[in-house]
Subunit: 327 residues, 2 copies
């Protein structure tokens, strides 16, 4: 035990931040969480990060002396080279926050800094769906569509910290939907949970009465309720879910033709609908991808849920000490 | 001179193969070329490869003892890990050809094997448009659309040798054009030289008389003639060229949001139309890409022409001896 290295992974979200100590094999101790409260400003935010890290160490029954390195994941925009959060839409009014150096100096430990979607992909690569693969592309389906690409144990960060913004691949030119980013035709405008609800609302307008109409009248339409209606046999919901699977297959195929990874992972709320939906995505892949990657690329749902972020942040911390996970 | 390492780069095409000795700084000696004649079979093909390599060494005024390593680039399909050409559409009837080991044993030299589009990207990275950048994505616009991705001096080969098949990203769902690969909606079905001619022929059918109609009646319509007509002010040709620039900007933006490279390079016949066309592509990029990569990503035309393949093959040979060009 005394020789085993341990890391703290911290995942900062717009609402809460979560941290845990993670051992050298990717196993987390119990995690702690604190409210982010970005509106209190970035100095308060940095102090909450430090407090979450301290509490995570206590929750693991350890002291800071037991910690080899710290990893911090945050939403963008960011500059990964300098370790700054720049102008994060989900952490307003923070701006130009020197996260990495602040944490490193506060604790006197090597500190890694990573985009939250990249960190989540790293978590799945280390000890989730992708354990053992050489390369992995992950799509995270939520309010938006996030992405992470890991090749030979390294995060593809990109030259301007914009690597793996997979939600913003253009997949439509003729009738391109408006994306939350302000551009048109992005994958996110079709395949995020928000976009699935929007596509359903539009389809409901001209469709015959169905379970979904009843849901829509009685409660808020959500991606989960749409998926439930599809499972219950509602034809309109089935159509929406199948189109969503086809769109995600296009996303996967495009990445098979760019990165050609060993595995494509989907994460986020929609994946909780189970293997039924995973199989639909897989069924569409051969329509869009070349035979070899279509046959050989493993397609999986994520396994770590919302723990992927802090586990991946810890993986990035581990890299500072141990080098790349696999080469 | 005696201490300087030299490499032979060989680029095998469907019609001819070209080779040259390249020095340690990426400067080629005069190249030689021989007909490929794939119809003569793969044993004859392998022997022609060896003969082209031998002639290249003679053309450089050297002997084989002066050569540190050999690099061979061929069209796919292929298995880069084992060094085999598998089932190449452009080299029929070759099948399962152990190119790398054959050349390595024949000459007793370390031998690298690479996809031709990847090798061309490596050539531009080493001593062409991308000299000095850390990461580069290249689109080669010809009969099809090829691609190559270089990050920190290494070719992104992919898990199944399908990395950087950039022509087969899907960019259209509503009215997806049929691609030469048999799938629909691929970038190649819009932006290859062949596709530009096809889009023009379709547009001519319903358009008022123009320079292009006259070209079409008198000679074969080619991408070059379409670009020339656009330069001469033909409105239909201008429209086609501008749409092509927008489609290439979508391709570039998608790669900015996946790889986020320091530079995007376009190569192939269409780029000979000059900076006029390059500027059109650049003008469309901010419509599709996030502000930071749109502003900062260098967009260039290739500089090495058809020498890029053998220079890049030599770069891959150099890596066997020297390790990655830049990290």
């Amino acid at each position: 035990m005394a020789n085993e290295l341990r890391y703290v992974g911290l995942d900062v979200g717009g609402t809460t931040m979560k941290a845990a100590v993670v051992d050298d094999d990717g196993r987390p101790a119990p995690h702690v969480s604190l409210p982010t409260e970005p509106e209190r400003g970035q100095e308060a935010g940095l102090e909450t990060m430090c407090e979450t890290i301290r509490q995570a160490v206590v929750a693991a029954g350890l002291t800071l002396d037991d910690i080899a390195a710290i990893g911090v994941a945050t939403p963008g925009t960011m500059d990964l080279k300098t370790g700054y959060i720049l102008d994060p839409p989900n952490l307003k009014p923070w701006r130009n926050v020197p996260v990495r150096d602040y944490i490193a100096h506060k604790f006197g430990k090597p500190t890694a800094f990573q985009n939250d979607a990249n960190a989540a992909a790293m978590g799945e690569y280390w000890s989730g769906a992708g354990a053992g693969v050489r390369s992995l592309v992950m799509f995270t389906l939520g309010t938006g569509v996030g992405g992470g690409i890991i090749i030979n144990g390294e995060v593809l960060e990109g030259e301007h910290s914009h690597g793996a913004e997979l939600g913003h691949m253009k997949i439509e030119m003729t009738k391109p939907r408006l994306c939350g980013c302000g551009k048109r035709g992005c994958l996110e405008a079709y395949a995020s949970a928000t976009a699935v609800v929007k596509r359903t609302e539009e389809a409901l307008a001209g469709a015959p009465p169905s379970i979904l109409h009843q849901v829509f009248r009685e409660k808020k339409l959500t991606a989960q309720r749409i998926f439930d209606a599809a499972k219950a046999g509602d034809p309109l919901a089935e159509k929406i879910v199948d189109e969503t699977a086809a769109i995600l297959a296009i996303g996967a195929a495009n990445l098979m033709h760019v990165i050609n990874p060993e595995m494509v992972v989907f994460a986020g709320g929609m994946t909780e609908s189970g293997d039924w939906f995973l199989q639909k995505i897989r069924n569409h892949v051969p329509t869009y991808a070349f035979p070899v990657p279509a046959e050989r690329t493993k397609i999986r749902f994520a396994q770590l849920g919302s723990d992927a972020g802090f586990i991946g942040a810890a993986a990035c911390a581990r890299q500072l000490i141990r080098g790349a996970l696999r080469r």
